[in-house]
Subunit: 395 residues, 2 copies
């Protein structure tokens, strides 16, 4: 397990506090990050249905999942073995049986079927069908949307969680510099991606890396006009701009980071764009401290870049930490207009002021934690546009 039992119990206590304030008596958790956060459960089994059941007046959660994953739950969680309930394999991807029918039966058997039940309505691992089947199977329950209930508990990190994110940052620094080091004219995109993966997973001599919730994103050339393309086996050309967005991951905790490289001397346009973005990023990092609202960071950014005439429509950042594919973001606070979340010490964000214009783009980002008096970035690499001109040189 990544944490001691006391830390898991404290998380359960905080979760029950939020359940009580919303009148939720039984909470069905399907988000794999929330399952891990509360129980320690870790495995690539979220492609089938699984869940953690938190009952307001019971000490321990119940894990329900596929039979072959029950031993995985025994190995990775702090739960009593009798709280690990496997369902038979003929519920898996079947057109006649649904795992939520099994869940409904269990909820009935333990006498919880007439209570107020919270479900994560907006989660990758709670499909529309899951909800329909649960409603059918539990006609006497009253359902409530408990989306993000546990995510908000995750928002402020413990010191050990921060330590894990610092380790993830050591990994991402190495992976980023290895990627930038290899990028050059004639090199294949996939070979750079392979090098980055190797660094992400092998980690350091002291500790290894875990798989990040998002694969390395490394669009190049015109593809830098959009942020979410991965890689091809094409070769880089002289003049290409390459954006790298990747994370280090340690025990499922992330430190994402983005940097941009130019192969050969950059155009004036991309150079100017990079300076605007880096100045805006620096200005934001300087003003972040406990007590301000997320939207104030965005306002600072907007004022900083105003003189350049550049407009950024998309959000500037988001809370992140523990997660599983397909996203390392926590889906709680966003750094954007209208977000009134007040920063507290040990909240952690990815501040990513990427600009994607129609022909080219630039990204430089930092992951940071809010400290008692300001903020500190997890990684420490130069933020400017990197320039590959024969040998690795910097702008």
């Amino acid at each position: 397990m990544s944490f001691g039992t006391a830390e898991y119990k404290e998380r359960i206590r905080k979760t029950k506090e939020r359940m009580a304030s919303k009148g939720i008596e039984v909470l069905l958790i399907t988000d794999p990050a929330n399952m891990n956060y509360l129980s320690g459960y870790d495995g690539w089994s979220f492609y089938v249905h699984q869940m953690l059941v938190i009952i307001s007046d019971e000490d321990q959660p119940i894990w329900i999942g596929r039979g072959q994953d029950a031993n995985g739950a025994k190995v990775t969680t702090w739960l009593y073995h009798e709280n690990i309930i496997p369902y038979p394999d003929d519920y898996v991807q079947s057109d006649t049986k649904h795992p939520m029918d099994f869940v409904a039966d269990i909820v009935k058997q333990i006498g919880q079927d007439k209570r107020s039940i919270g479900v994560e309505m907006e989660n990758y691992y709670f499909t529309a069908k899951c909800y329909e089947q649960l409603k059918k199977g539990l006609p006497n329950a009253s359902f409530q949307d408990a989306t993000l209930l546990v995510n908000w508990v995750r928002n402020v990190k413990s010191d050990l969680e921060i330590e894990y994110m610092k380790r993830a940052a050591i990994i991402v620094e190495k992976a980023m510099m290895d990627g930038i080091g290899l990028i050059n004219e004639g090199v294949r995109e996939c070979d750079v991606a392979a090098k980055i993966f190797h660094s992400q997973i092998t980690g350091t001599e002291e500790f290894g890396g875990d798989y990040p919730a998002i694969m390395p994103l490394l669009p190049s050339g015109e593809k830098t006009s959009t942020p979410h393309l991965t890689w091809t086996d094409e070769r880089y050309k002289q003049g290409d701009t390459v954006i790298l967005e990747l994370a280090g991951c340690y025990k499922r905790y992330h430190s994402p980071l983005a940097r941009t490289v130019n192969i050969g001397q950059p155009s004036e346009k991309i150079k100017a764009l990079s300076e605007v973005v880096v100045e805006g990023l620096n200005t934001c990092l300087d003003m972040i401290k406990p007590g301000i609202a997320c939207e104030e960071i965005e306002e600072t950014w907007r004022k900083s870049i105003k003189k350049s005439g550049i407009i950024k429509e998309s959000r500037l950042g988001y809370a992140m930490g523990l997660n599983y594919p397909p996203d390392w973001g926590e889906h709680t606070a966003s750094i954007r207009k209208g977000d009134k979340t007040i920063l507290q010490p040990n909240m952690t964000f990815h501040l990513i002021p990427g600009i994607w214009l129609d022909q080219y783009g630039f990204e430089a980002s930092e992951s940071f934690r809010v400290t008692e008096t300001g903020c500190e970035t997890f990684a420490s690499l130069p933020r400017h546009l990197f320039i590959k001109d024969g040998v690795l040189t910097k702008n």
Copy 2:
């Protein structure tokens, strides 16, 4: 694009045929593999809501997604640019606006809101909340469950799709042997995983690899009692059994493969288990041909292992090919009791007779395509228990 426009159009034609037979006039596709299959769209953007709209009496699908991903859709799809409709960024992970409200508005604007609308009820990327918002936004539509409608079209592969899976197999053979080559007493699990990733992504000199939909699974020691644990930074010990399940991936097409290694001489128990499984696997591969039902393969397997006294409760395999995280399976046909799917040439499966007992386990699998007269495996590596005894030797 991975395929010519003619192939995409043919896929759309087949999809419309199935829509017609189910009385579906408008199909909302949220499965990223189905989106890719019909439009070519490729990007790690499925962590926000996005969709393809297929209208029975319109030639081209409509792509709806996040603003910053619209350029990605222009780069990767065969769609007219006017069919690419971006939504503003304040719909992303917001607690006041939902992307399905935007989708409902578009469906109304194009006059499709009083029709029979198919949605993928059982898909990771169509949450319970998505369905609730769509029903609210489109009160005059009649909704139908269109889960797996496109997946079933994907079931029989074209020759070019088979070619991509063959390339994926070349990659997985290399990644598997590199992993097995490195595993030894004192080596860290994460270093083996890193080596495997590197091989998966760098591919060959002729073509590079894509990220597989499932990360390498490599439980060792007692953790081989369950199949879905990934890796740690612990070191292998003498006597450890290590199961490797991984895939090569080329342009999103997979060839998964599992093998098992023993560090040092194996116990009699694990040796006996490996022989039972490999014999069962071989017997199945010998009898597979067009015209038989999936359940007949499972029956052959069950008869083959009966004399050993071992019972396998979980399914023996599943259809697979094109996919995105978290699963490379197609969720259509399964090789198990009760599955009446009749095999046809160019259907592709992962046949994975893994056995996980309480203290140890063994897996050896093959990905295969059904041919005109039988089947052929994509990869060709020995199936037996690999033994690492100082130098790499084989059982």
